[in-house]
């Protein structure tokens, strides 16, 4: 009897002993810095969220392996919102209230981020900040919510301005726009419109598609609407699946017009979809495509950041290198730098001072990163690429874009 009782006690201890750390995982442990992310891990934009996460996680793992930040391990809590605002709000509340996230990092998408911003205003007293969202939209860059967010990537306005300026400079003034019927699309639409206004031009025509549009959906209606206006360039503010679907339908309809995509339309995945479809249809879809990117090409090893990325990322995950994971990698690198400049376990109230003091930080790119009062965006350089032999290569010459015969 005595032996049995002793065994029961031991069992109880074991259960308790294993139970405690498990419970600790839900609330921040003593040696963990929790960062929270909500993004699309499912749905039509799942590729973006997964790639961005993989880039960030690769760098955080690297840092954690080297002893973390002053001994504190960085933990990235990730929740799936499927690129939908409702779940994004729920995830954010969960990250702040339950997971005790120090900061929010790497949210994916404009419609989600735009809806989360008021929440940050609500948590103003707790000083919850959103870092480096995967969105170039204006709300997180300007008042009234710009003060709650810090961006690394350039804005859509800058991306679209880059596209418009280059297109106009090469004689393409009849610019039409395809955009997602939501805040992301509206953000790009506004960017294009503003950029065209600078040239005293207006949007020639516009067509929309619903958020969540898949590659399998038909975009023939949008093609017809835009084609009717006879533009000589299309700027597409779309997800990669919808952008690829639109390009497919345009090319299948025999329309060769140059189509420009912004960085959100993850050029790599877009190309993968088109290449896969080309295998089936036997057509070519990669010509006359331009993509604006917010980071340099991920294989440009002349840059220290790229070398570091390829070394760490290539060693840590099965994912292939790409723009989005590279951006995630840079996000994480900058985040780590910010945390390093803080003290102890890091407190939210320290962020402002640290960021205000961040000037000309070398993240490993040509451009230096600076933050400060009124400066909540780190990078401003836009990169362009095109497709050659089924691969993305930096765009050297805008005038090399084929002239669409229809608009001559």
């Amino acid at each position: 009897m005595r032996r049995r009782a002793a065994l029961a006690c031991l069992l109880l201890l074991l259960i308790r002993g294993t139970g405690t750390p498990a419970a600790a995982a839900d609330s921040p442990g003593q040696d963990v810095i929790v960062l929270g992310m909500s993004g699309a891990l499912s749905g039509a934009s799942a590729g973006l969220g997964r790639e961005l996460r993989s880039g960030m996680v690769a760098y955080f793992d690297h840092v954690n392996r080297d002893g973390g930040i002053r001994g504190y391990r960085i933990e990235l809590k990730v929740y799936d919102d499927g690129y939908n605002p409702g779940p994004a709000i729920h995830n954010t509340l969960q990250l702040i209230e339950r997971d005790g996230a120090l900061a929010l990092l790497g949210y994916v998408g404009t419609p989600t981020v735009t809806r989360v911003l008021p929440l940050l205003k609500m948590y103003e007293r707790e000083e919850v900040l959103l870092f480096f969202p995967f969105s170039g939209a204006e709300p997180q860059r300007s008042e009234p919510y710009g003060r709650y967010a810090y961006n690394l990537r350039p804005s859509y306005r800058e991306e679209t301005r880059g596209l418009v300026d280059n297109l106009v400079a090469t004689g393409r003034q009849r610019i039409a726009i395809l955009y997602q019927a939501d805040a992301y699309g509206r953000s790009g639409w506004q960017g294009v419109r503003t950029a065209l206004e600078a040239h005293r031009l207006d949007v020639l025509a516009e067509a929309t598609y619903g958020r969540g549009g898949d590659f399998e959906d038909s975009y023939a209606a949008q093609v017809d609407i835009l084609r009717a206006a006879k533009p000589n360039a299309i700027i597409s503010i779309a997800s990669y699946a919808a952008a690829a679907g639109f390009i497919r339908d345009a090319r299948d309809a025999g329309w060769d017009v140059p189509i420009a995509n912004v960085s959100f339309a993850n050029s790599q995945q877009l190309l993968e979809l088109l290449n896969a479809h080309a295998q089936i249809s036997g057509r070519r879809y990669g010509f006359n495509l331009v993509n604006s990117e917010v980071v340099p090409h991920f294989r440009d090893e002349s840059l220290p950041a790229v070398r570091e990325y390829l070394e760490i990322f290539g060693a840590s995950t099965a994912h292939r290198p790409g723009y989005v994971s590279f951006e995630g990698f840079l996000n994480a690198k900058l985040m780590v730098e910010i945390l390093r400049r803080m003290e102890g376990r890091a407190e939210r109230r320290e962020f402002r001072d640290v960021l205000d003091g961040m000037t000309d930080f070398d993240v490993g790119l040509e451009e230096r990163v600076s933050f400060g009062p009124g400066r909540n965006q780190g990078l401003h350089t836009i990169y362009f690429n095109q497709v050659e032999d089924g691969r993305l290569v930096p765009l050297q010459d805008w005038s090399a874009l084929r002239i669409d015969v229809e608009t001559l």
């Binding site: 605002p85 404009t110 419609p111 735009t114 809806r115 939209a137 204006e138 709300p139 300007s142 008042e143 019927a181 939501d182 805040a183 699309g185 509206r186 953000s187 639409w189 506004q190 516009e206 067509a207 929309t208 598609y209 619903g210 209606a221 949008q222 609407i225």
Partner: protein, 515 residues
């Protein structure tokens, strides 16, 4: 399925269909009206809220926030699309895919001028009905900052109406089926005993005499168990069958009785006819005369009779004579018909036959017979008789009549005459009546024609009487010289005259010709 049930089913079905249709139309219309109003109100409310909320983003030139805001409202059921336009009518945020339709752009084209219409009063939210939506247009800052347009989807109203109608129709169908079930049960409950009664009635109709009473046992349970109209009907059936059974039995008895009487009457007629001489034997009665007779009775047992036989001449004192020198002739008619008449006729016939030999005077014979008949004649039945004795040697005829038609004589010259005689009173009326003889000598070749009133009173189809005139004409016209030919000719004439009309009286005739 009983016919009663089929009819009821048809009527109930039609009734249900009509009610269901009317109800669905009314509900559909009510729901449509109610929901349309609700949608309009909701559109007004949402447009108003959005118009207020849009002020900031519009003035800040922040279409992204605006878009983010209207995207949230798109989740509300019934909202098909939302659009925000600035003061110039330029669309700065919308939820249309793939593009803003032309009719929406047309709606907006008027808003650009709104700010020029300040004189017409404050700008207000207004609803515009289109084919597929209810568009609600709300001004932002009185239209000076822009407009918000909400499209409420009519398809939801239509779906709701259809869904309610479908639900209602389903419910009605269920109720209908239940009602049919209950109806079927009730009708079966009612119609089965009725069917049983019907079948029972057919059995009763086909039943053998005497077995009706036994059939009643079949419906005894209906009469006993139910106290409603069915039970009442069953009891009436049983009562009626009992009555019917009794009546049929009585009828059978009375038919048997009638049959027996008819048989007896036939026997009586045979007996009666046997009393009369056989007309076929009359020809050989005596070589000095040729005789023919004919009797056609109106009923089975008639009242007419005739007689004819030879007698020995009456012996005067000291004188003997050879028998067969006298011929007795008689014809008569009993008042009434049937058995009583036949009996009286038999009696009269027998009396005449048995008493004739004692008399040389026809009147005397009649007086004796009358005496017998008048005695105890409580039934007051009478007989007319003409009788006579024809002396076959002298051809002298002694005759008398008791109320009978006068005899006729057709001479060889075709002349017809009536034998005059006192008509006398019918036999049986008064015992004290005296009759008087008449005498006539017939010439050789003369045909003495005796008949009953059945001949002269034979009626045509037009109820005209044959009459004595026609009879005498017929006798005259008969170019025949034998009694058989005369009687046949007259009978044919009468038959032609009657032309198939039923005759009320016997037709009897007797003709005698002295050779």
């Amino acid at each position: 399925m009983s016919r009663l049930f089929s009819k009821t089913l048809l009527v109930v079905g039609a009734l249900f269909a009509a009610i269901s249709l009317v109800m669905s139309l009314v509900s559909g219309w009510n729901i449509h009206r109610g929901m349309s109003q609700e949608f309009r109100d909701m559109g007004h409310a949402v447009a108003g809220i959005l118009a207020d909320a849009s002020v900031g983003p519009i003035l800040d030139h922040n279409p992204v926030l605006l878009q983010s805001m209207i995207d949230q409202y798109l989740g509300i059921e019934g909202i098909a699309h939302i659009l925000v336009a600035d003061r110039d009518g330029t669309v700065i945020a919308h939820t249309f895919v793939p593009s803003v339709p032309p009719h929406i752009r047309e709606l907006l084209s008027g808003t650009a001028d709104a700010r020029h219409d300040l004189a017409s009063g404050p700008a207000s939210t207004r609803a515009i009905d289109t084919a597929s939506t209810i568009e609600v247009l709300a001004p932002v800052l009185g239209g000076m900052a822009g407009h918000v347009l909400i499209g409420m989807d009519r398809a939801i109203i239509r779906d709701q109406v259809l869904s309610v109608i479908a639900q209602q129709q389903g419910l009605m169908l269920l109720l209908f089926l239940c009602a049919i079930g209950v109806c079927w049960y009730l009708i079966r409950l009612i119609s089965r005993p009725l069917n049983d009664l019907g079948a029972h009635a057919r059995k009763v109709a086909a039943a053998e005499v005497g077995s009706i009473g036994k059939l009643s046992a079949e419906i005894e349970h209906l009469a006993g168990s139910s106290h409603d109209e069915i039970g009442e009907l069953a009891r009436s059936f049983m009562h009626m069958e009992a009555e019917l059974d009794q009546s049929v039995r009585q009828l059978a008895v009375s038919i048997a009785e009638q049959e027996r009487i008819r048989t007896e009457l036939e026997v009586a007629r045979e007996i009666q006819m046997r009393i009369l001489p056989d007309p076929t034997h009359l020809g050989s009665l005596h070589p000095a005369v040729r005789i023919a007779a004919r009797i056609e009775t109106a009923e089975e047992v008639g009242g007419d009779f005739f007689d004819c036989f030879t007698l020995a001449a009456p012996l005067r004192e000291g004188q003997t004579g050879a028998p067969g020198r006298r011929l007795f002739l008689a014809i008569g008619d009993v008042s009434g018909k049937g058995v009583p008449a036949a009996l009286l006729m038999s009696m009269t016939c027998t009396l005449l036959r048995t008493r004739a030999a004692r008399h040389t005077s026809a009147a005397g014979l009649l007086e004796e017979v009358n005496l017998t008949l008048s005695r105890d004649n409580e039934t007051c039945m009478f007989v007319t008789v003409w009788c006579g004795f024809l002396d076959l040697t002298t051809r002298e005829l002694t005759y008398a009549s008791a109320g009978h038609n006068a005899a006729l004589v057709r001479a060889a010259s075709s002349e017809v005459r009536e034998l005059q005689a006192p008509r006398g009173i019918v036999l049986g009326a008064d015992a004290n009546v005296r009759y008087r003889d008449a005498h006539v000598r017939l010439d050789p070749g003369d045909v003495l024609y005796l008949y009953t009133d059945g001949v002269t009173e034979a009626t045509s189809v037009a109820t005209e009487l044959y009459s004595e005139g026609r009879l005498m004409g017929a006798l005259r016209d008969s170019r025949c010289d034998s009694p058989e030919a005369v009687t046949r000719f007259v009978a044919d004439t009468v038959r032609r005259f009657a032309a198939g009309a039923p005759q009320a009286d016997d037709i009897t005739m007797l003709a005698v010709q002295c050779v």
